[in-house]
Symmetry: C2
Subunit: 265 residues, 2 copies
């Protein structure tokens, strides 16, 4: 992690990223207390359907900000920022296939591109940690375990597909508190979609995640499942749009918005 990353403001981080002086491999843990966002960029021709998909599926696809076609500045959540340069790493997909990882998307940018910023679980994880609920994947410096489920999303236009969930082992006696805390944050996935039996949502084997790392369940712990930000990317990719740009895993967009601004109560 870059020197002083924990004390840097979102703006300072974005400026380091922009000029190529950001050396960390992930934005996890930086600028604590500020909202980080998943990125999906699509051509205007796909944008209405994708916005509708997010509106219908707020748990996996919580919208933080959507910009008009051709607009590169997230004026609401990060005034002065540039979405084309201020993320550490991007992925470029054409017709559903990854064609490039890159540090900026100035070459790819077009006037018809619509940017979607979606809430990510860092915000509710911070709230869980604040409440004394430890998170094993963070302790073990792993990625969270993610699974494709049999929970269908609500289709919208060309977009459809299963909900992808993340799993966190929660001690039995803290499950209720975990539900309460994450319920306060509907804009960053919100309350769990399922508690307990993985089979009920089509997960056959917890030790075989579809994405991320294996995180062991210990005695007295319950697997708790939250809708995951991989869902909209997987759904969008499945429809094979001519062009789609996303953040590279773990390389989020750091906004100026405080986590607590997203709390509903």
């Amino acid at each position: 992690m870059a020197v002083n990353a924990l004390s840097q403001t979102p703006r300072e981080i974005r400026e380091l990223v922009r000029v190529g002086r950001w050396e960390a491999r992930t934005t996890a843990g930086v600028a604590p207390g500020y909202v980080q966002a998943n990125l999906v960029i699509l051509p205007k021709a796909q944008a209405f359907d994708f916005l509708l998909f997010c509106q219908r599926n707020p748990k996996p696809c919580p919208l933080i900000e959507v910009m008009e076609a051709g607009v590169a500045e997230p004026a609401i959540t990060a005034p002065g920022a540039d979405i084309r340069t201020d993320l550490p790493r991007y992925r470029v997909f054409r017709d559903g296939a990854l064609v490039k990882e890159t540090d900026d998307i100035l070459e790819e940018w077009r006037d018809d591109l619509v940017t979607f910023l979606l809430g990510c679980s860092f915000t509710f994880e911070a709230a869980l940690l604040d409440a004394g609920i430890s998170l094993r994947h963070i302790e073990q410096e792993k990625n969270v375990s993610m699974y494709v489920t049999t929970l269908a999303t609500r289709p919208a236009g060309q977009f459809a597909g299963p909900t992808v969930v993340s799993m966190r082992p929660i001690p039995q006696e803290k499950v209720v508190r975990a539900v309460q805390i994450t319920s306060r944050f509907p804009d960053v996935h919100g309350a769990p979609v399922h508690i307990g039996d993985p089979q009920r949502i089509g997960i056959r084997d917890l030790s075989k995640p579809d994405y991320g790392d294996i995180v062991e369940l210990e005695k007295g712990e319950v697997p708790v499942f939250w809708a995951c930000g991989v869902t909209p990317q997987a759904v969008a990719m499945h429809s094979k749009p001519p062009l789609m740009i996303t953040h590279a895993p773990g390389n989020m967009f750091v906004t100026d918005q405080r986590d607590q601004e997203l709390a509903v109560l």
Copy 2:
């Protein structure tokens, strides 16, 4: 009000409306416990910007359901219903001007029309009444007082304009509870936008509402202001779309969704 209107299900009410046997002049108070929705229909060419406007302004424009272009059945909130016939009365606007009030919009319907259903205050008013907070405009069988404010909405594409608010007099000692109760319902305008001094939000004279009736403020009462569903209609009309269809005032779409399904906590 039609016979037994209070005990009719939303489906029964919609069927009576559809065949022209609904005789009431308003849907206020019917099918208690069920969500009623404001209607805005726009051509696809304006739909992305309007959806974006609603996403950026959830308090005045809380989306209940948005349908794909040409789809007349609200499959999520009222399966089997037909948005073209199941509201008692519609208004048709062309280039921003009211050209027609009508009992159905079968003649106006086109394959490129996108339907937006927006939450209305009936849901949170029911919750306030349940909590023992009486509402004068209901007691006096008036419309709520509504005012154009100096609170700007966040513009999106061609859509911009001021927030319209509704005012309800709340006894001083019940103001906190009123905030708590309505905060639970972000999909039907949610928490107030302002409490107290009308001047602070650009209202010069409470006795001169811009829409609705005068509702007197009595001693010991505080004026509490909520974002109002007139906002999206006023904003859409201001941009003079070639075609816009809305419900006629008080003639909402009665959905199958329960009020309590919209509560966040």
